[in-house]
């Protein structure tokens, strides 16, 4: 791709991000999409960087969409995932895009899937989507990608319990990263036990993202999963989910803004704080 069209691609992606271009929300993604999720600091970005390296050595053109949280107070964000991938910044066959969650729950930005669609159209394959890592229910990733990888580190041990409800159910591959640290094996046994109990059969791969150990095995597991889904019936990106998310976002902003304009919103908040019945206030808001 020439310089000029790379700038055009970046500008298109920015438009998608800013809600100025909607057509990519419903476009098919031909490329294989890989999600990397897991609690904060488990090594998602370092692992992503290793995967970029792996796919580049194979001759693939790789793209990454990396998510970090927006501040709920200022609406701003400090996007730092890219720091771990900067050695690929000048590689013409690697495209890295950082996105902020912009108030959306679920671990990915509203625009992540649509950006992946634009990157797929531009010929990047695979596309890796890193979620933000707050260790809650970052499960939306499974609605967007073909292969979801849930990353654990030996230190996340006690968090498994909390994550069971959501994140344990979405993974196609489990990774125990930082397996250079002691208690990595304990983590693997714990995960194995959880999986046996829930009757799921999922590969668990041990990696050391900081040195590259285990990346080959991880890539092979990804390949196996890809063959599985591409040969049977490919798990399609949930377009309905995408559209629903964006509609919900737009409707919410629209209603909130119009209520705020007429001060109904502030009055409602004040009355709720005072202890008025929420159902009554909702009725009042909806009829106004």
């Amino acid at each position: 791709m020439t310089c000029k069209s790379r700038i055009q691609l970046a500008r298109l992606i920015r438009k998608i991000e800013e809600g100025e271009e909607f057509s990519y929300y419903t476009k098919e993604i031909a490329s294989h999409t890989i999600g990397i999720t897991g609690s904060g600091g488990v090594g998602k970005s370092t692992l992503t960087s290793r995967l970029i390296q792996y796919y580049r050595e194979k001759g693939n053109r790789v793209a990454v969409v990396a998510t970090d949280p927006s501040s709920p107070f200022s609406g701003g964000a400090l996007l730092g995932d890219r720091i771990r991938m900067q050695q690929f910044a000048t590689d013409p066959d690697v495209f890295i895009k950082s996105v902020a969650s912009r108030g959306k729950q679920g671990g990915v930005a509203l625009c992540s899937g649509a950006i992946a669609a634009a990157l797929s159209e531009a010929g990047y394959n695979p596309i890796i989507i890193e979620t933000l890592g707050i260790g809650q229910d970052e499960i939306d990733i499974s609605n967007i990608v073909d292969t979801s990888i849930v990353v654990f580190s030996p230190k996340t041990g006690d968090q498994i319990q909390a994550m069971k409800a959501g994140i344990m159910e979405i993974g196609d591959i489990f990774v125990v990263n930082k397996s250079d640290l002691s208690s990595a094996d304990a983590m693997v046994s714990q995960l194995t036990k959880e999986l046996t109990e829930s009757g799921r059969k999922i590969e668990i791969i041990k990696t050391v993202a900081s040195t590259g150990k285990g990346i080959e095995q991880l890539a092979q597991a990804i390949e196996r999963h890809k063959l599985l889904i591409f040969s049977v019936s490919r798990k399609k990106r949930n377009a309905i989910y995408q559209i629903e998310s964006i509609l919900r976002d737009r409707i919410y902003s629209y209603i909130k803004e119009s209520l705020q304009k007429k001060k109904y919103w502030d009055d409602a908040l004040r009355d709720i704080v005072k202890g008025c019945d929420i159902t009554d206030i909702l009725k009042r808001l909806l009829s106004s």
Binding site: I7, A10, R14, S74, G75, A77, R82, I83, A89
Partner: protein, 133 residues
């Protein structure tokens, strides 16, 4: 309304990153989306990052004394890649006498030690408005 996107970059072997982090946080707290590149970036890396991220601004933090060379290379690289419309500004330890020279080669503004972060924030917002980017 678009969110404003800023690249904050550290160039070359300069390891002083406190100022870059201070300004990154201040911009985040003012509602900007900041992409921090980390240390030891080449001008090419900085420019590529700005292009791919669709950045509105590039901010470079330099305390090593290499500001003239780095600035020149970034401006040249932006032009080579057809991205000269991305404004570049700088901060760090930059002698007063170099500021005019930097502006001459295309750096939009320089914010040295002691500049209140609100000044930088207002500058960027006004620049965006004025140039209707």
């Amino acid at each position: 309304m678009r969110k404003l996107k800023v690249i904050v970059a550290k160039a070359g072997l300069d390891g002083h990153d406190r100022g870059a982090k201070v300004i990154s946080r201040a911009l985040r707290d003012a509602g900007f989306e900041v992409i921090y590149t980390g240390l030891r970036q080449s001008p090419e890396q900085i420019v590529s990052t700005a292009i791919d991220e669709g950045a509105d601004f590039i901010g470079v933090s330099i305390l090593s004394g290499a500001h003239m060379i780095v600035a020149k290379k970034i401006i040249e690289n932006l032009a080579e890649r057809g991205a000269e419309d991305i404004p570049v500004f700088m901060g760090g330890i930059i002698p007063e006498s170099d500021i005019a020279k930097l502006k001459k080669i295309g750096i939009k503004a320089v914010f040295g030690p002691g500049t209140p972060t609100s000044e930088t924030i207002n500058y960027l917002r006004n620049y965006y408005k004025k140039n209707d980017m």
